[in-house]
Symmetry: C2
Subunit: 339 residues, 2 copies
Amino acid sequence: MANIKEVAHHAGVSVASVSRVMAGHTGVSEATRQRVLTAVKALDYRPDLAARRLRSRRTDTIGLIVSDIRNPFFTEVSRAVEDVAYQQQWRVILCNADENPDKEAAYLDLMRDENVSGVILSPTLARLAGFHPADYPFPVVLIDRCERDTTADAVVLDNVNAAYRLAVHLIENGYRRIGCLYGAVSATGHQRQEGYAAAMAAHGLKPQAIAVQATIDQARTAAVNLLQQEPRPEALLASSGLILLGTTEALRETQLRFPEDVALAGFDDLPWTRLVEPAITVIAQPTDDLGRAAIHLLQQRIAQPDQAVRRVVLRGELQVRGSSARRSPIRTGHLLTTA
Amino acid sequence: MANIKEVAHHAGVSVASVSRVMAGHTGVSEATRQRVLTAVKALDYRPDLAARRLRSRRTDTIGLIVSDIRNPFFTEVSRAVEDVAYQQQWRVILCNADENPDKEAAYLDLMRDENVSGVILSPTLARLAGFHPADYPFPVVLIDRCERDTTADAVVLDNVNAAYRLAVHLIENGYRRIGCLYGAVSATGHQRQEGYAAAMAAHGLKPQAIAVQATIDQARTAAVNLLQQEPRPEALLASSGLILLGTTEALRETQLRFPEDVALAGFDDLPWTRLVEPAITVIAQPTDDLGRAAIHLLQQRIAQPDQAVRRVVLRGELQVRGSSARRSPIRTGHLLTTA
DNA sequence: CTGTTAGCGCCTTCAC
DNA sequence: GTGAAGGCGCTAACAG
């Protein structure tokens, strides 16, 4: 591979001119520009990124650390981030913490080694043990999961409110004993449980919330347990797509039908929720907007490190479907009326 | 951040010694080693990767270009690749071609700029227009999709055979008019269609294969069309998880039940295939093994660039479920017998 | 507008 | 076993 020196030689100019042309700087005569471009083409020259990064001390690379890449929610977000980044000539290093705080910490270290310009992170834990964004030499934007008092830019769903609306929807459709399965460790899980509990309290109902690990299998096991209790819950609310999937598996396993035996509602509008019969009532999350907002926030923070901390809160959309149909379907015409 | 010079100064040794210790070279006295390590810890020194890469001309980075990150199949594979890579201190740059050949080409270029050690690629097209692995300065391992005559290392499913077995299963369960929806552009789609056609031919049946774009929406539309033809197919075979999902949506849309009205079978053993009722018969793909095999192949190729081209063929596993139950359920006891 | 030059931080001969 | 020095390819002053 040709280097900048050879290109300069070939074009009959100095390396500085080549560098300037490659960087798109102004203040280069059109004549030189053309000679350089011709030489670049002739030699198939591509600037060496390692050298450029060493010299400029910039990587134009961001780290994206998601807590679980197999969770379709994060897949969608990753895609959005990646899409925007590459369009702007940025690189993305994707890391999957697998809901493991140690892995997460290791990746944050790695990001420091890589000298990334910034990191988008969905923390595995609610309270990040010893993690302070300020400890790292790069800005961090949190996504999806974030305590209210975090001092970092963040893009999150209105978790409490969304869960509140979802619970109220079930209550208004005639359900009273509503159980909630929520992610035990993430801030998101806690906030959604909170919204659920608030809705129950507001209607004088006793909440029954079970903390589970956010995996399909753990959720299924917990749901089966819950469903075998007496009296059985009349409805279940799941705080994430994976938990909802596990809960639905539990209903199959226990041969219970929804909504006749137990109503069902949850988070994440994934394709499969419309495939089961009846389809499942969910809060749809704007994954695309979330990803876009995160990278924009990060880029602005990189450009202006000292601007005020910002927090973007996106609204989840309630999608009412058959799994939460009125308990006593007196007026079916109202089945699709949102609460 | 401290650099190697400061560490050397702090430890009272030369930069060469620090470099040697950091690289784990032998031929350094224990005394020097300890002094260096102490200084490293004291200054929280971390070698600058850009400098190291510039100097050593190695990046210890691989590119992973998947054709569609939203396809759970690729998500799983990515996770496996990433897992193995990071354990061995390699970096992974994940790129999502979004089934767009232009994006794929752009990413391959990018990989060259990044000077990656190698690339794992699932090509978007069956016949890579103008793509020759030899054109790139790094080795390429193909995954999932690959023509038989490709001159690159590859890890693929036994697509023809798997589709053959799936079709035979349907035939043996009494279905005759079996339609096939297969991915139009990928080698995988073609190969699976081929296996299906062979099975049909072997049983004296007329194949009816429809090429579709490998997205949920396109598959649904095509399936609805197919289902409205007269006579209606008795069974449908979908060549990928996304196509299977779209096909299932089509059955919902047209109010047809499976297997009573139309039997159903496809590829990819995703959680949702067990949630719908009845569950769907599929070929399960060993995604984890596929990812692991790919990165191992790549690492061996990097270590020995001139070894013979290798091709790992993995076997898909037929999971028989209710969606393809015998047409005339005479002996229900045989429902779970694989063909 | 253009060229010369001094490093960015590290690895790696080559002497000692 | 250790240190001195050159250079990987590029950018950014600075001088002209």
